[in-house]
């Protein structure tokens, strides 16, 4: 439980620094914790983690708390890196079915690679504390639709301004080559792949013909200038191309495309990825999946099965687990827990929501508790993947975050009935 010292200090810190940057404040020492550390190491028992200047400063068994640090005795409870949901709309949607409260589904397309999800992010969304209350401290805001849907962003779930929250404003580019997009766009999957190839070829052409383009002397190109520019980091291999595809044969086409254009590929959805597990493992292609999607929901995923994550992980594929949700990003722990239920190793499932998403997107210092890493950590009352476990403390960039949400306020208001304001009735 939180020490009195820390509780008092937090209250004053929050009162004082409503707009101050997240990194300010005294160091924090979390003592006697069971700490999940990177790689294949078992968790450290009875360890200390020191957070300072927004980062993890020290991790170890005999690490002293720095002078002046706020201390938190974990009493042997579990400390993990803050979870990273690799595909969400947190902060981009408040209510799914109210168009005005939903910035996930842009009109236009089918190719809008210059779009940046970060421009729709609202750091005051009610969803942010709710996601955080489930131990999620960072999310990838990912485009949901279109053949080329635009660029995702990585944000930390704390802070009052976009500038404060944002970690990477242009993290990755997204291509959707699933049944829904086929039906909305080219009508056939071969037609859709053709459009994608042409767009990439045009972007490559543009990179060597910019002068002609600006002089209006280039040939016709499928994308506008912003789109052509947006694809340059993808062609240079600096930005991953995240391809949503489900059917095993579609995944094979994605691999060929990645070869032809020397792309850094990440797969998402990937219901039938288990059928090409060995090839994905050989190439070390990260695969982002929802382990609960075991239904033959559409014809491009008739071979969906519940142990997709277990098979991929067992074959050595870098598996990332995601909720693909906004309101329920808080349940990322449950996705990982179900992957374990369905055969994945427990430590691999934890890595699949911490290190693996960080590695898939090249996020140095994320998803791990080690010196120099970002100070995003969560203290759990027990096994983080278990139904009975509660989140007790959440730190983002070294600062503790309140666990109050709109839902806890509703609970407080309705904890006893009738309400005082109901009058005498």
């Amino acid at each position: 439980m939180r020490s009195r010292v820390l509780a008092v200090a937090i209250a004053s810190v929050f009162a004082r620094t409503a707009s101050a940057s997240a990194e300010e404040g005294p160091p924090v020492a979390i003592l006697h914790a069971r700490v999940y550390v990177p790689g294949d190491h078992p968790p450290l028992e009875n360890a200390t983690v020191v957070l300072a200047s927004g980062k993890v400063q020290a991790v170890g068994i005999n690490v002293p708390a720095p002078p002046g640090a706020l201390t938190l005795d974990a009493h042997g409870k579990v400390l993990t890196p803050g979870f990273i949901d690799a595909d969400t709309d947190v902060g981009v949607v408040d209510i799914q079915m109210e168009a005005a409260a939903n910035d996930t589904d842009v009109r236009g397309g089918p190719m809008i690679p210059a779009l940046r999800m970060i421009d729709g992010y609202n750091p005051r969304s009610a969803l942010i504390p709710i996601a955080r209350s489930g131990g999620v401290t960072s999310v990838v805001l990912a485009p949901r639709t279109h053949l080329l849907g635009g660029q995702s962003a990585l944000v930390d779930l704390a802070g009052d301004s976009v500038a404060e929250c944002v970690v990477r404003p242009a993290l990755a580019q997204y291509a959707h080559v699933d049944e829904e997009t086929v039906q909305e766009t080219a009508g056939t999957r071969s037609g859709l792949w053709l459009m994608l190839r042409e767009a990439l070829e045009d972007a490559r052409f543009y990179s060597t013909h910019k002068a002609q383009y600006d002089a209006n002397a280039a040939r016709w190109l499928r994308l506008n200038r912003q789109g052509l520019e947006a694809l340059q980091p993808v062609l240079r291999g600096e930005q991953p191309l995240v391809v949503t595809a489900h059917r095993a044969s579609d995944i094979e086409v994605a691999l060929r495309l990645a070869d032809d254009f020397k792309l850094k590929l990440v797969l998402e959805g990937a219901s039938e990825a288990w059928m090409v597990a060995d090839e994905l493992a050989r190439r070390k292609v990260p695969v982002v999946i929802d382990p609960l999607q075991d239904l033959p929901q559409r014809f491009d995923r008739l071979h969906a099965r519940s142990d997709n994550a277990a098979i991929l992980s067992g074959a050595g594929v870098p598996v990332v687990l995601s909720t693909f949700s906004a309101h329920q990003a808080r349940l990322l722990w449950q996705r990982a827990g179900n992957a374990v239920r369905l055969g994945m190793e427990h430590d691999a499932a934890i890595r699949a929501i911490t290190e693996a998403p960080a590695d898939a997107f090249g996020l140095k210092g994320y998803g791990r508790i080690e010196p120099g890493a970002v100070g995003n950590v969560v203290l759990w009352s027990g096994d983080p993947l278990q139904t009975t476990t509660r989140v007790e403390h959440v730190f983002v960039r070294g600062r503790e975050q309140p666990l109050e949400t709109r839902q806890t306020l509703l609970l407080d208001r309705y904890r006893t009935l009738p309400l005082a304001r109901d009058g005498s009735r």
């Binding site: 609960l292 075991d294 559409r298 071979h303 067992g314 374990v340 278990q386 139904t387 009935l417 009738p418």
Partner: protein
């Protein structure tokens, strides 16, 4: 068939640790502490040491079979959006028994579902209670002796669907007007039939031109009004999709006006705000553990809903409304229990099991037959690998009427014809360990 050495969660408040369940001729012959009676010669004995046994899970709100997978236009059969009063419809007539979701639900420990039409209409039509074993049609899966159930809907969905069509209802008041008009007609329909029956029963001298006597033609049958007349008589259970507290209160006002009882509000994310009223009126709540925010009327959902209703003396049940969520309803109970306890609400594990079994049985009117592990009830039983409220729990054996319908260690050919040849690969070693 004797299952013994397991922790038995009966959903009656009793827990046997270790205990036994004896099944015979499709029913439970005995449930209790210890090893149970010496099995008769030829009886199957399952040593379930370390495992847990519960009643089969009952999902009172499913669209399996009426919105089957794969999601094809050819099978999009859950909402007949041509008349908001769809009381003449029956989900039974849309149900596709080859839905691959059925077998996956059973693998999640579910033995009975209430299949309902969608919520696009104010009156969606009659639902059907199904026992989950593979059969060629809905009628053969029908839970024996289950009462008729009627799906109704309030709030956003009907007014949105018909608003797009520029037809009434386009507002909440339009919703209520359309329903009241329908029940006014149903009252007249009931009166006309009662009058005709009364006349039939009254002996009178026959005259050649007697139009009112025994020769009088009966009133024309009207399938929609026939169903609504059953509602007025209390002969069909009203299962009402409603999210907001104010919408539920308006629905109860309408039920009072026409003198019928609401069996359960479904979804009911704001039930916690009026849990005193719902408990007093004996209206059950079928809901999720923590869904929220997908539409305006779902914005105030909180994870403590089931716990608060239970604390107030109401009857709370879990439902899925989803072919994914139905596979992990046991986890939903675990989560809702943990949320309630964290809020300081006194609950025990039996309360959480009741959310999955006894209470949804009541919602569907089959509480005398299933929902608890007691002698005499149908042998719908699940053996779990561990505490079913754990994330890691897997249903290992599932029995319906004493018949083994799912055995995780021996997964055979798919139930669904559709999946023949598709699911041909062997299950991984991990999943079957």
């Amino acid at each position: 068939m004797l299952i013994r050495n397991a922790t038995i969660l009966t959903a009656t408040g009793k827990r046997y640790e270790p205990g036994f369940v004896l099944m015979q001729s499709g029913s439970m012959a005995a449930v209790g502490d210890g090893n149970g009676p010496d099995p008769k010669a030829g009886a199957v004995v399952i040593d379930a040491r370390g495992k847990f046994v519960t009643p089969g899970i009952i999902d009172p709100h499913s669209h399996i079979g009426v919105y089957p997978v794969p999601e094809t236009t050819a099978h999009d059969d859950g909402n007949e959006l041509t008349d908001p009063i769809g009381a003449g419809l029956r989900a039974e007539h849309s149900f596709w028994p080859q839905d691959p979701a059925i077998e996956r639900a059973v693998a999640g420990g579910v033995t009975t579902i209430g299949v309902l039409p969608g919520s696009g209409n104010l009156v969606g039509g009659r639902g059907i209670v199904l026992h989950l074993h593979p059969r060629r049609g809905a009628r053969a899966m029908r839970f024996p002796g289950a009462p008729e159930i009627l799906k109704m809907a309030c709030g956003e969905n009907p007014k949105r669907v018909y608003g797009v069509l520029k037809r009434s209802p386009t507002t909440r008041m339009g919703n209520l007007r359309a329903l009241r008009e329908a029940f006014v007609k149903a009252q007249k329909y009931s009166r006309d039939w009662e009058a005709w029956i009364t006349k039939q029963q009254k002996p009178r001298a026959k005259k050649p031109d007697d139009k009112d006597g025994a020769d009088a033609k009966p009133p024309d049958r009207d399938l929609a009004l026939e169903t609504l007349a059953l509602v007025l008589r209390g002969d069909i259970l009203v299962e009402w999709h409603c999210y907001q507290a104010d919408d539920m209160l308006a629905a109860l006002q309408l039920a009072d006006e026409f003198g019928f009882q609401v069996r359960a509000f479904h979804h009911a994310l704001e039930a916690y705000k009026i849990r005193d009223v719902l408990a007093r009126e004996s209206v059950a709540v079928a809901t999720w553990d923590d869904w929220w925010g997908f539409k305006m009327e779902a914005y105030d959902g909180i994870p403590e809903n089931l716990a608060l209703i239970t604390e107030a003396g109401g009857r709370a049940a879990l439902h899925s409304d989803s072919a994914i969520a139905i596979q992990i309803l046991n986890q939903a109970a675990g989560k809702a229990l943990a949320a309630g306890r964290a809020a300081g609400i006194k609950l025990d594990e039996d309360d959480a099991v009741r959310w999955l079994t006894a209470n949804p049985a009541w919602v569907l009117g089959i509480e005398d037959q299933v929902g608890t592990l007691v002698a005499g009830k149908r042998a719908d039983v699940v053996v779990w690998s561990e505490d079913p409220l754990s994330t890691y729990a897997r249903a290992e054996l599932v029995y319906v009427d004493g018949q083994l319908v799912f055995d995780r260690a021996h997964i055979g050919a798919p139930w669904s014809d559709f999946e023949l040849g598709v699911r041909a690969m062997p299950p991984s070693k991990k999943e079957t360990k």
